[in-house]
């Protein structure tokens, strides 16, 4: 099967191509689902792009799309489901929802925005099988999941017992393989565990009440583990003290704690709060952006807050319990999970007239605009925690259009306006930068060599947008989206469902750990370790995962 996309302006920052700037058009050729060098062979199908902007399919490296907490969110917020049913039509899954869309709706709405790969950033090991079953029902997207680690009692025990790094590495490798994960996520390092022992807060150097292990130790040990195991993605960190004013100091200390090793700070917006002003809540975006700029080992995604009703779901039960009183509507779920992690689900409405919410919005945008290197910052709302992913086109316009941004700012809570320097920031993102943020850079930080670009060999996941000065309009509708070379969206509407794959990482590790894992599961967890492990055939309705073999750097 050979396809030819004719006459598009190719925007492919990974390969240094910018057809939008140069005004040149060219064809893209696809053979059996991959992009190939141009030939003069006859194509089975040709699509005339008429100078439209062609980019690789979007990649979201942090969006909660599957797993037990999303189902708890669905259960709790039936209002969201009822208010946003999927539109009837040939590709209706009879589901719906906006903050927590059903699997089918997630795949379709993402595809309609030109996204073709999305990573679930908080898969709890105990729930991994369920998360994979759910991801298998998401059409049109390739997925993958980051395993939540660091709060589990096995790991805490290892550290408390002074286990060597090799032992930790073996454990991490075993867990990655057993749960079919792609990367390691740390959520509130050690804090979730400490909450089970009734600690209500946890700073970077505070000792766990039971194990006496500090978050710093959790973090540095796991950073070393993923480095030595050769996982492509660095530790994906949801740091300490999420949402707590004054957590800016923790965030800065966390960056310093890496001592130059790679670290990804996720939803940084929620970790950039100072305590200045009458309300003891202020923006530390400038300080933190400066630190990020100065430390090339750090990458971040923002977790932009978008106004409106959403629901927050996180493994960070400690923080979610703290925020429980702010729930709107007033209901929430919390759960301690299997000596492993936890979760907290709290519905939330971000209000533009609220000082705190408006300032959160501004802090997110400040981070976007003050972090200089577009290859180290990624466009996220931490869906659905800061807002649903369907708000991305609006967010892109906020980044690309200063007048629009300032007009929005002028409508917000007055006190918040006075507390942000956003109005003075002149920067506007270029289309190329947006393509880096949403395609090229995530592919690079995830180590996905055949994604996020349009060079020969790349997976033919392609989004075609008709250029429009109104960037929100432009990114709201795709002219065409191809998944593995198949046209799945035309003129903004799904025209075919494609089955995606699930990316997993497979590091080498010392398999002698298996014996200890068996004993742990038998005695402590009360489940056989072999039943905890997920077989390849359990993924994607039997199709199995797409495996990225990792070469460890440790001997």
């Amino acid at each position: 099967m050979r396809l030819r996309l004719k006459g598009g302006r190719v925007l492919d920052p990974a390969n240094g191509e910018n057809g939008v700037a140069s005004g040149t058009v060219r064809d893209i050729e696809i053979e059996d689902g991959r992009i190939v060098a141009a030939t003069d062979r006859k194509a089975d199908a040709e699509y005339d792009l008429g100078g439209a902007v062609v980019m690789a399919g979007g990649i979201d490296l942090h969006s909660h799309i599957a797993g037990g907490k999303m189902n708890l969110a669905r259960l709790l917020m039936q209002e969201d489901r009822r208010a946003f049913p999927e539109m009837p039509g040939n590709f209706c899954g009879c589901g719906g929802g906006r903050a927590v869309p059903t699997a089918h709706a997630t795949g379709c709405r993402y595809a309609e925005l030109g996204y073709t790969t999305v990573f679930e950033p908080a898969m709890v090991g105990a729930n991994a099988r369920g998360a994979h079953l759910e991801m298998a029902d998401i059409p049109n997207l390739d997925t993958g999941a980051y395993l939540v680690l660091g709060n589990d009692d096995y790991f805490q025990r290892l550290l408390a017992a002074g286990a060597g790094q090799e032992q930790v590495n073996a454990y991490v490798g075993w867990m990655i393989e057993a749960t079919q994960a792609f990367a390691i996520k740390i959520v509130n390092p050690g804090g979730i565990n400490a909450f089970k022992f009734n600690a209500r807060k946890m700073d970077l150097d505070e000792a766990n009440p039971h194990y006496a292990v500090t978050p710093r130790k959790v973090l540095t040990t796991l950073i070393r583990a993923v480095t030595e195991l050769g996982l492509p993605h660095p530790i994906h960190l949801h740091g300490c003290n999420l949402g707590v004013p004054g957590n800016d100091e923790t965030t800065l200390a966390t960056i310093l704690a890496t001592e130059g090793r790679r670290l990804h700070l996720t939803h940084l917006q929620f970790h950039s709060y100072g305590t200045e002003g009458d309300k003891r809540f202020s923006s530390s975006a400038a300080r933190i952006a400066e630190m990020v700029n100065a430390n090339p080992n750090i990458s971040v995604d923002v977790g932009q807050v978008m106004f409106g009703q959403t629901i927050t779901a996180s493994a960070d039960y400690m923080s979610q319990y703290r925020n429980r009183g702010l729930a709107s509507p007033k209901k929430s779920i919390g759960m301690d999970i299997e000596l492993d992690a936890a979760c907290g689900v709290v519905p939330f409405e971000y209000k533009d007239k609220s000082f705190v919410n408006a300032l959160q919005w501004a802090i997110g945008l400040e981070l976007f605009l003050l972090v200089e290197d577009p290859w180290r910052i990624f466009l996220t709302t931490d869906h659905p925690n800061g807002g649903p992913f369907t708000t991305y086109p609006h967010l892109i316009r906020l980044l690309m259009d200063r007048d629009f941004r300032n007009a929005q700012l002028a409508t917000l809570n007055k006190a918040a306006q006075a507390h942000t320097l956003l109005a003075q920031i002149k920067r506007e993102y270029s289309l190329e930068e947006v393509a880096i943020l949403t395609r090229a850079a995530p592919a690079r930080i995830l180590g996905l060599k055949d994604k996020g670009h349009l060079g020969p060999g790349a997976v033919a996941d392609i989004a075609v947008h008709t250029e429009d000065a109104d960037r929100e309009a432009m990114f709201s509708t795709t002219r065409m989206v191809f998944k593995n070379g198949r046209l799945i969206v035309k003129d903004g509407v799904v025209v075919e469902l494609a089955q995606g794959t699930t990316h997993v990482a497979r590091p080498e590790f010392d398999r002698s750990v298996d014996k200890d894992m068996q004993r742990w599961f038998d005695e402590a967890v009360g489940l056989k370790s072999k039943h905890f492990r997920i077989a390849d055939g359990e993924l994607r309705h039997g199709a199995g995962p797409t495996i990225l073999k990792c070469e460890g750097v440790a001997s």
């Binding site: 039936q78 509507p329 007033k330 209901k331």
Partner: protein
């Protein structure tokens, strides 16, 4: 005749859900558009004209001629206008309604006026279970408006009621006003066991003291000015309260720290 009338072509073979098909929605539509509007029926969705003869002139009034116990969601989500049913309706009549008037000539199924926040429902006959209550998963029952039941009400009427007024001319079933948060409910007839269980606030007017859960405390009979005020201000309660100067006041559910009350005329 003014308004649109829907006359069933035949008794329904499956449950039909009219939720959202309210006078303000039908008003702007032409008869033809109305006829083509799809409504869920059993496991399918059918055009309105396949189920009903659709006649009249669209405006603020909707008339359902000949009710059917399988006709669910009549007037659900109504915000204004008038909806009249000549006969009986199924479940969820007037659910989530916030304005307008819904008149039902016959009986109603379960969850009549559940989660209603305004407007008025006048039911001539008996209501099923959960009248004026919170539907599955909903946090609050009726929170405003008036729900008048001419006959009896089934179990768990007024469950989690949050405000507004429910009057039951006949008997009330078991678990009346369970978990009531606020509001007023009156019962002309007898009351089933466990009324007011877990009640936080709110008032239940009764003619005779029913059997109440353990957390209710009888404070004795009192001369209450509020009775005279309510009798005059609330026409729906005048007949019941106009003779009352004193009432037995039973407070509960104290087991849950509640401060609701059952007021029985003496």
């Amino acid at each position: 005749m003014t308004g649109v009338s829907l006359k069933p072509r035949a008794p329904f073979e499956a449950r039909v859900d009219l939720s959202g098909l309210t006078p303000e929605v039908t008003g702007p539509l032409s008869l033809r558009e109305l006829e083509h509007r799809e409504v869920p029926c059993g496991g399918r969705s059918l055009k309105l004209a396949e189920l009903f003869f659709v006649e009249g002139a669209p405006d603020g009034v909707l008339l359902v001629e000949i009710g059917d116990a399988r006709l669910d969601g009549v007037g659900a989500g109504m915000t204004r206008g008038e909806l009249i049913v000549d006969g009986t309706v199924g479940a969820f009549a007037g659910r989530g309604m916030s304005g307008g008037v819904l008149r039902i000539g016959g009986d109603a199924g379960d969850f009549l006026g559940s989660e209603m926040s305004g407007g008025r429902i006048e039911l001539a006959g008996n209501a099923g279970a959960h009248a004026g209550a919170a539907g599955s998963g909903a946090r609050r029952g009726l929170s405003g408006g008036v729900l008048q039941i001419g006959g009896h009400a089934g179990p768990r009427a007024a469950e989690r009621q949050r405000g507004g007024l429910i009057t039951i001319a006949g008997d009330a079933g078991e678990g009346l006003a369970t978990g009531m948060i606020a509001g007023t409910v009156s019962v002309g007839g007898t009351i089933g066991p466990l009324a007011g269980r877990g009640m936080k606030r709110g008032t239940i007017f009764v003619n005779a003291v029913p059997e109440l859960p353990a957390g209710f405390i009888d404070t004795g009979a009192h001369e209450l000015v509020a009775l005279r005020l309510i009798a005059r201000r609330v026409p729906e309660l005048s007949a019941m309260l106009s003779g009352w100067t004193h009432a037995r006041r039973i407070v509960g559910d104290t087991l849950m720290g509640g401060q609701g009350e059952v007021l029985a005329g003496v």
